[in-house]
Amino acid sequence: MTRFLAWLALIFGCVFFILPLVGMGEFSLKMRRGVYSFDAYRKVFEDPTFWATFGYSLVLAAATIVVGVLLVVPTAYWVRLRLPKARPYVEFVTLLPLVIPAIVVVFGYIRLFNTSSILPLTGTAFGTDFLLTMGYTTLALPYMYRSVDTGLRTIDVATLTEAAQSLGAGWLTILARIILPNVMVAVLSGAFLTLAIVMGEFTMAALLNRPAFGPYMQLLGANRAYEPPALAVIAFAITWGCMGLMQLVTRLAKHERAKA
């Protein structure tokens, strides 16, 4: 009886999850009347705006990952090593982006960094890109911090630091050559999650008026019939790829550790 109900719940859930995926897959192939074809995908790939926005979001994702790593790794390391008392406060701040909706944060940006403020970031394209990168960094912060902090828990930070210092290493060397390689798996899994978040993000980019992939998808969705599901398939593949890579690095790391 229990087993029957268990199967029922699982099958119901799977049907609910699989149908939209099949739906978007099937619809994206229906552009040519009567036969299945990849016309919708060809249309998408022929569109220069697709490549421009895709590339833009990819560059921003890379920038977000770099900023996130530079911000999170030293902070998490320092808190573990020297300031365990600050831990609850830092953790609280890293959780704030889950509490404050992204739309509110970006609303604040627009009002705080507008052209008539002390720091008129929204005045130039580069300034706005910078602002968007910072916004994405806040979105990724909860996941990045938790991932790196968990990674740091598995290594003996204090001993490693003392050993490096006794060999004459400075702080930069310690961070770059001792700490970072040791938490690489955590950093990578945080990075892939960041990539997945940034590639699909819509609200911040749309409100800051930047040509990112999310607003492009929305605009196409409002005007076309067959390209949007093709984009959805592409976006799903990206998300799936990011999660797959996350699992892969974690598994590889376990394997390495088992060998060592």
Binding site: W7, F17, I100, I103, F202, P228, A235
Partner: protein, 290 residues
């Protein structure tokens, strides 16, 4: 002389310096922007302190936006929570093959991140007017969903779409909690003569209760703050708070910038309350799950 100076540097508490970059970042790009909104919510057009914006929120349109948003978030959190719990319980206790668990959790990780614009496209292609399921039901069974009152671009359409990321999020969060239920508790209950239902009612559910309620709060906040899915699905028509705020930021549709701040402040209050509940309950829940 040099010695004393070095001694001084060592004695000065300089450890906090390591937190400066993080603090500056958080202040500039997280805390100050939020404060700007909060303060603006209590400022009049001339800048003086006022409660007028809060009072002005009390119009039929804004009230209905908050009400619809809260209803949407509660319903998707309850439905998503129930289905997600059933699926997680099925995998943990249901005697399903062990091979099911890994793929389900991986898929949940993907699906809970597959929100926003593409998710809306996927549902339009499936349950929209010419979607896969709609057409299939019509041609094979003569069931006309539209005639039966189904419309994807409506409140209930949004509910069904949101479930696609609410259910997996529930599965991801509740599975570790279910794993934490010790076999010994069940055996102890059985030895004392409890039936399966009694075990669930008197042992398992009370232990799980903080986790369940906490996850509910998280799902609520997750749905309440979502913009992209709703916007891509229904455009600017549907009257929910995030969409209203989106339109306000783009073009001051309320005709009063400070009212926009008040609208955003209301959102912060609600998601903050839900998340505080979640964090507090998670701390309580972890007492049992060590």
């Amino acid at each position: 002389m040099a010695r004393t100076r070095q001694g001084l540097i060592q004695r000065l508490p300089l450890n906090w310096l390591g937190l400066v970059p993080f603090a500056v970042f958080a202040l500039l790009f997280l805390i100050l922007p939020t404060l700007k909104i909060v303060i603006g919510a209590f400022q009049g057009p001339e800048g003086g302190f006022t409660f007028q914006n809060m009072l002005d929120l009390n119009t039929a349109s804004i009230r209905s936006a908050y009400w619809t948003s809260i209803k949407l978030s509660v319903i998707t959190a309850l439905l998503g929570g129930t289905v997600g719990f059933a699926m997680a319980a099925a995998v943990v206790f249901g005697g399903l093959p062990k091979a099911v668990r890994g793929p389900l959790l991986t898929f949940s990780g993907v699906a809970s991140n597959f929100a926003g614009v593409p998710l809306a496209f996927a549902f339009i292609a499936t349950l929209g007017p010419v979607g896969l399921v709609t057409i299939w039901l019509k041609t094979n069974f003569g069931i006309n969903l539209r005639a039966m009152g189904w419309n994807l671009l409506s409140f209930w359409g949004l509910v069904v779409t949101y479930l696609f990321f609410q259910i997996p999020l529930m599965i991801l969060i509740i599975t570790p909690a279910l794993d934490g239920l010790k076999k010994e508790w069940r055996e102890a209950a059985a030895v004392l003569g409890a039936t399966g239902a009694q075990y669930w009612r008197m042992v398992a559910l009370p232990i799980l209760f903080p986790s369940l309620l906490g996850t509910f709060a998280l799902l609520f906040a997750n749905a309440f703050g979502a913009v992209a899915t709703a916007f891509a699905l229904t455009g600017p028509q549907l009257n929910i708070v995030p969409i209203k705020l989106f339109a306000q930021i783009r073009g001051d549709v309320l005709g009063n910038p400070n009212l926009g701040y008040a609208l955003a402040f209301g959102m912060i209050l609600i998601t903050a309350a839900a998340n505080t509940l979640y964090i507090w309950l998670r701390v309580r829940a972890e007492r049992w799950l060590k």
